[in-house]
């Protein structure tokens, strides 16, 4: 068995014949890294002596048929191997091209794309290439939403504090303000850590559910990237006072379902169940779903004039 990696992504372990066939068909590249038992380190497939004739045959075949995705090889790997035309659908989100677009421009374009054209966004999103850029996007978007919401909440509460403190001594007032300020400060400092940890746990739970449903056609990395991008964009709704969190929650779940479906190339039903299942198993989720259903039924009844 030969283990094949492309960049940060493991494409899997394949028998030698399948790798040979994949090289000839253009599904595996010379730059892909390979490893088999007995080797100390990974090396490019082009440096495997047993595949030299296959690479030569692949490069010298003028009328070779267009390469097909191999069985068991993640689709993006096959898409990259197929050349620019078939790689176009996975051209990447603007955030993945932030070096050329600029940091702020790429962020705004990505948020706009995920919120307004989620199907297109998650269709072009790369499902490989590491988790760093998706994590950064999720942490930035989530932190902006959470920090603004925290500051807004503190501003509202400060009105109550001011009234309460006016009835106490100046020393007690100073103490109260200092403690409250310190708590807000630590909450803001800890927000990015909470978000990063939360994203990993959420993506892990959804991916396990997807594995249970047989819908995980790509590695964990693909699920993480989709959920992280979805969260980074939708969490910005938390900026809106009072009802922003509810919009972020509902829109986030919808974006998660679309993101999982497109990134894992699975049907939307499995994606929806994979996203909802962790919430249902965990008690809080049932409460939230009941609340959402209650609000929905209430709105419907009002609409119908009951």
């Amino acid at each position: 068995m030969i283990h094949v990696n492309r960049g940060a992504t493991s494409l899997g372990a394949f028998p030698e014949d399948q790798v040979r066939e994949g090289i000839r068909a253009g599904r595996f590249l010379g730059s892909d890294l390979g490893w088999k038992e007995g080797m100390a380190n990974w090396q490019p497939l082009s440096q495997f002596a047993e595949f030299s004739s296959d690479f030569a045959a692949a490069s010298s075949a003028p009328g070779a048929p267009p390469p097909q995705p191999p069985a068991g090889v993640p689709a993006p790997a096959a898409q990259q191997a197929q050349g620019p035309s078939s790689a176009a659908p996975r051209s990447g989100l603007p955030w993945e091209r932030r070096d050329s677009l600029g940091f702020l421009n790429a962020f705004v374009q990505t948020v706009s794309m995920i919120l307004t054209r989620p199907v297109e966004a998650f269709t072009v999103m790369r499902t490989e290439g590491g988790i760093g850029d998706a994590l950064l996007f999720g942490v930035i978007g989530g932190s902006i939403g959470a920090i603004v919401a925290t500051l807004f909440s503190a501003a509202i509460h400060s009105l109550g504090w001011a009234a309460a403190l006016s009835q106490r001594s100046p020393l007690e007032g100073m103490m109260g303000v200092s403690v409250s300020g310190a708590m807000i400060f630590f909450r803001i400092i800890l927000t990015p850590i909470f978000i990063a940890i939360g994203l990993f746990i959420w993506a892990g739970l959804v991916h396990i559910c997807l594995l249970m449903l047989g819908g995980a056609n790509k590695p964990f990395e693909a699920s993480f990237r989709a959920l992280s991008f979805a969260y980074g964009a939708t969490a910005l709704f938390c900026i809106v006072p009072c009802c922003g969190w509810a919009v972020a929650l509902v829109w986030g779940l919808i974006a998660d379902c679309i993101g999982i479906s497109r990134s894992q190339e699975t049907d939307i039903g499995r994606a929806v169940i994979a996203v909802i299942l962790p919430l249902v198993v965990c008690c809080g989720g049932i409460f939230i779903i009941c609340l959402m259903l209650g609000v929905g039924v209430g709105a419907l009844m009002q609409h119908n004039g009951h």
Partner: protein, 141 residues
């Protein structure tokens, strides 16, 4: 299904490092949470229906587990106890491979039958756990 030991490829996602950090930070945050006396999480399902959910007792199970009261932890929630055991074993393994920079363990070549068996096993475990929790005397949770 096979277990192989292989080195990490250059630039490959280091999942041992990622999940070790995630579990460690979670543990530290949980310790901090309880140390400063913040409120325990409450189960909305239990409050609404009067019956425990699948994860009811998880907090008390974790507390007992980390105080080495394993039997007590098992009684609170067997499924969470198994998960905590699995996480502890994984963290010990991750710590070892990260410190000593040794090849990583990977599970490969799952057959369809093995995947189905694993899925069935997880479903049975979750359901058995819930039945156990529902069978406990009222007022325990």
């Amino acid at each position: 299904m096979r277990i192989v030991r292989r080195p990490l490829a250059p630039g490959e996602n280091d999942y041992e490092l990622i999940w070790f950090c995630v579990t460690l930070v979670c543990l530290l945050l949980a310790m901090g949470w309880f140390a400063i006396g913040l409120p325990w999480p409450h189960c909305a399902f239990l409050a609404l229906t009067g019956h425990p959910c699948v994860t009811c007792g998880a907090t008390r199970c974790a507390l007992a587990f980390f105080h080495a009261n394993f039997l007590v932890a098992w009684k609170w929630n067997p499924l969470v106890f198994i998960v905590l055991c699995g996480l502890s074993i994984f963290d010990a393994y991750a710590f070892f491979v990260l410190i000593f920079r040794v090849p990583r363990l990977r599970l490969i070549q799952f057959s369809i039958a093995e995947k189905s068996l694993l899925r069935g096993l997880v479903i049975v475990l979750v359901l058995a756990n819930w039945i156990y929790l529902l069978s406990r005397p009222p007022g325990v949770f």
